[in-house]
Assembly symmetry: C2
DNA sequence: ATGAAATGATGCCTGAAAGGTATCGTGGTC
DNA sequence: GACCACGATACCTTTCAGGCATCATTTCAT
């Protein structure tokens, strides 16, 4: 078998058509260069160069070999570079799971930030609820999640990305949309609600029952997708609690109201990732998120 | 710098995910295999494999390197093979110069024969008169000529490909087309002729003046392309001498007549090549032509 | 819990091969 | 005809690849 060094020797000679100068270009002396080329030719079984004592020319086989040799050397340069870039996280693929709600606000700017900082990282975006994100993180199908949850399992690390207020989406003809005074928590008492699912949107469900006196009789629908909820509000099926960023979606017939007595930014969006993930791109992205 | 052997070692380990079995597959023992992989990793500057004492897995960088490594190895196999094939003449490019007249008959079957016998040889076909073929052979712009000439220069070797009769092309309304008896050489005496050029179609010109009593007053046109001559015959501008193979071209209004007293196959078509040409494909094609 | 097995890494030795210096052989040049 | 240019060869030294023996660590069975 032959070596890449032999190929480099041959290419140098083929380019200079002169052993002495090629040797100088390779920072070596002429005799070992001659031998390396001979050895390569012996392996190939064919003369690649025709040496006259006066001049060196490529044979037809040599021309063909030179073409392949150049590609070979280019690739032999590229392979370690690619590996280094991927190991450093400059290159790679990052699978991101995000909730539909996070898609309204932060997802776009996050994607932009990642693409600007790490143009070598390809993003795979998958919309899924937080519970699915945790499953997929555990099984390594996604590297990063953007979701809402209070406490993370031990295998998952998180970083608070965004905290926002909770708003109430009301149909524009609803009496609450025309109050003379600021809205208060207990105004929703007895109103028909389009609630978050207790199983599929646990975070919102828990958050709401913690802050509001919600009675099961008030719940008209139980959903997990914020956008669907807003559409139902527009069709006058009830009121819905939505994070502030969802208010960016203007749907005709829907108004978003803040609570006077709940101005804290209590709805959190976290970045989630598996502590054991080896994906080097994740490290880069996480350090970006932290800044 | 790293070697192809190191790459082979890495690929084997990456495929087996087991140093011992990979070593066996490479017909070597495990310790040097470990060291080769270590050396490769040291050059790349990045861990390609993650070795636990229990199992071996690829890192993200290792996966990327593996992809490139496979291409690298495939190319390292291919380069010498290509060179060998080209040196043996199985592969290559052959520039062929041919006269328009040879194109009527033998060129098609020749091209077919070459393509069947040597599917790796690409043919470049260039139409040119014999004189141009000799020039281009001398300067290496074509490797093979198909032309008509009596004596070859010393640097050119030739092989007789085809000998054929000389026919007379006549307009179908011409008296000679309706003779009760076979045509004889002296029937053309005094007829208007469309002659071959004395300078650009020397071979035909010399051949004709050797066999026929041709007077300059009879010459109406002086050309080098047989097809043009036949078209002029069709338009009743005179008679033309053409090789038998040109009769394969049926032009309305033209009939081809043989001479009773000139039945020898005196029009020759030769393959011509430069004795110094190094193109290995030529050797193969010449040996094909000889059989 | 403890010993056996599995597996990759290390230490050491030998032989092959790479690179260097000096020199040869052969054409072309003045 | 002496000289020069240039690739090939001879010989030496050093580097490195491969093999054997062994170590260290982890898992599994008893």
């Amino acid at each position: 078998m032959y070596t890449l060094d032999q190929v480099r020797c041959f290419v140098a000679v083929a380019e200079h058509l002169h052993f002495g100068r090629a040797a100088a270009a390779l920072s070596m002396t002429q005799p070992p260069l001659s031998r390396q080329v001979q050895k390569l030719e012996r392996f190939v079984g064919v003369d690649l160069l025709e040496r006259d004592n006066r001049r060196v020319v490529l044979t037809a086989a040599g021309e063909a070999f030179l073409d392949n040799a150049r590609v070979l050397l280019a690739m032999s340069d590229r392979a370690p570079q690619d590996a280094r870039r991927i190991a450093s996280g400059q290159w790679g693929r990052l699978s991101v799971g995000f909730t539909a709600a996070s898609g309204f606000g932060i997802l776009g700017s996050l994607v932009t930030a990642i693409e600007e900082s790490f143009p070598g990282i390809d993003l795979d975006l998958h919309e899924m609820v937080t519970g699915e994100q945790l499953e997929n993180l555990a099984e390594g199908r996604i590297d990063l999640g953007l979701g809402r949850l209070d406490s993370t399992p031990p295998s998952v690390q998180s970083e608070l990305l965004l905290a926002e207020r909770l708003l109430l989406a009301v149909p524009k003809d609803h009496p609450l949309a025309h109050l003379e005074r600021p809205l208060r928590k207990d105004d929703v008492t007895g109103q028909p609600l389009i609630m978050h699912s207790a199983t599929r949107a646990t975070y919102f469900y828990d958050l709401l029952v913690r802050h509001f006196p919600i009675d099961h009789h008030m719940v008209r629908h139980s959903l997990s997708q914020v956008l669907t909820m807003i559409n139902l509000v527009a069709d006058n099926h009830g009121l819905a609690f939505v994070p502030e960023s969802a208010a960016l979606v203007s749907v005709p017939g829907v108004r978003y109201l803040a609570f006077e007595d709940l101005s804290e930014e209590i709805v959190e969006l976290k970045a989630l990732w598996n502590t054991q993930t080896k994906n080097p791109a994740l490290k880069q992205v996480v350090s970006l998120l932290r800044s």
